[in-house]
Symmetry: C2
Subunit: 310 residues, 2 copies
């Protein structure tokens, strides 16, 4: 069976990341970039690539610059799952003084509107699946194509909470680890209290719920206990774009490497996710990758250990 032509064990992808591949223009109080590589799947897979060789399930345009494809290949990110068609998804946004919230100037879906998410054969046996920001109906479609029963991490966004709640609830039910940010959690569960929101989220089905709080770290809820991850202290946040995706990607990358989805290991995975996300926020686009080795991430991990010791 393993020698089946459609299922080559050497090529099989253990971690699949679904989301967007995009070209971004970003303006922050610290500077401005135009035409840089972005998208939820790219940020997440880049973060995961410190630990594993993820495959991206997405769509991009034929205009996607060759250097971006080279970058992905250099990171050992599999791109067989990226369909190339039309024009690449484009996002233009800015951050104001407090750097907390991205303000969108323009979103051009382009080929993303035609995203069908047909999984390559070699993706269908993955044991880890990250559902990044995409239409919940497409996420359901992807789950149904899987031959394995992967550990599913869902990282949703407020847009889908308001526009496709019913499909989203179906996805959440199939999810093992549900990640959402502070504002999304408050909106979704209609409460200002994050502890209540986290507990309510568990009732929807997932074994684990993570609420991301940016500079304030992240919270983990499960039957096994409650965990509060500290934020990595950053004096300068240059561009938070993709930090949330990097957190989720780093987390699932670490899980897929260690093959351990116990609550205790998810705690560690969150700290690795935070370490990578903080580095991401310190630079524009994916610039952090160049100077960031696994060794540096481990240094941040250890620093986070020390700053919460008492």
């Amino acid at each position: 069976m393993i020698h089946n032509s459609k299922f080559n064990i050497q090529q099989a992808i253990d971690l699949v990341v679904i989301g967007t591949v995009g070209i971004d223009d970003v303006d922050t109080p610290f500077g401005k970039v135009k035409g840089v590589l972005g998208g939820s799947a790219v940020y997440a897979a880049s973060a995961a690539s410190f630990f594993s060789r993820p495959g991206i399930m997405s769509i991009a345009g034929k205009d996607l610059p060759e250097k971006f494809i080279k970058y992905l290949k250099k990171r050992k990110i599999d791109i067989e799952g990226i369909e190339f068609k039309g024009k690449t998804f484009h996002w233009e946004g800015f951050y104001e003084y407090d750097m907390n919230e991205a303000k969108t100037i323009k979103t051009e879906l382009n080929s993303l509107a035609e995203f069908e998410a047909k999984l390559p054969e070699k993706y269908k046996s993955a044991q880890y699946l990250l559902l990044g920001n995409t239409d919940p109906d497409i996420q359901l479609e992807v789950i149904s194509q899987m031959k394995s029963k992967p550990f599913i991490v869902l990282d949703t966004m407020n847009f889908w909470i308001s526009s496709k709640k019913e499909s989203l609830l179906k996805v959440i039910k199939k999810t093992n680890l549900f990640v959402l940010n502070e504002g999304e959690a408050r909106q979704f569960f209609d409460t200002p209290n994050l502890i209540k929101a986290g507990k309510d989220a568990l009732l929807l089905g997932p074994e684990f719920v993570v609420i991301k709080k940016g500079e304030h770290g992240a919270l983990l809820f499960s039957k096994a206990g409650f965990f509060s991850a500290p934020g990595y202290p950053l004096e300068i946040v240059k561009d938070p774009t993709g930090a949330g995706d990097s957190f989720a990607g780093g987390m699932i990358g670490y899980l897929s490497k260690t093959k351990d989805v116990s609550e205790r290991n998810i705690r560690r995975a969150m700290i690795y996710g935070s370490s990578i996300a903080s580095a991401c926020a310190e630079s524009f686009s994916l610039d952090y990758i160049e100077n960031m080795k696994l060794k540096n991430i481990k240094e941040r991990y250890n620093a986070l250990k020390e700053i919460r010791r008492f």
Copy 2:
């Protein structure tokens, strides 16, 4: 010398808390209370009283109900430093849905306007001094009356940042541990970044700076290192009034009991402060005190240890 009539070692107060004694009306989405005991010194001394026998330096009116005086005495809080004159300081406020910020309806200074802060003899040799929310000029006056060189914790408020910055800077220079909340830190140091604000605060003189972040915990800055204290997870916040004062009071109470102002011990003191502050926020006024024993606080301390473990 010790047998000097004015300085009886048995009566000497080791921890002095300066601040307000007030009568509050508070309205929150969880209920409403009228004419309850409040004030920064009362909240802080109550929290400190789990560990030590603080003395309050304040002013109250002759109308302060006898039951409130009984409460303070029962907590073994020394009230020789409270002058009784005219009418008690009165605050009326409410909290909206998000419970984050107290909105003031009315503040009646009453006798507080005549607060002169003449320290009783037995307070002058205290080794720990908490400067709660009061006029910085009065705080300077109190410091000048001290015969000892106490460890000074300053817990200021945005009102003084805008109205008496120069005097406040003088107080900060004499302070060992400067406590301020998230919003105050951003305002004071004109930055959205709390890490930068904390580092800037150290430059003003204090050895230690603590930034309180409510539900998100607190940060400690010093030359010795950086510490991030988790918030105690509360599903219900009934009334956050006094939680910040309780944090500072619990912290200095623990320090005065352990007689150790090392960075490592200040970390522990912060966790004790958080434990007490969280209990305070779960009830109106000081209602939490009745059901809260040192044993319960230690349970929260241990829980906070567990929720930070990875």
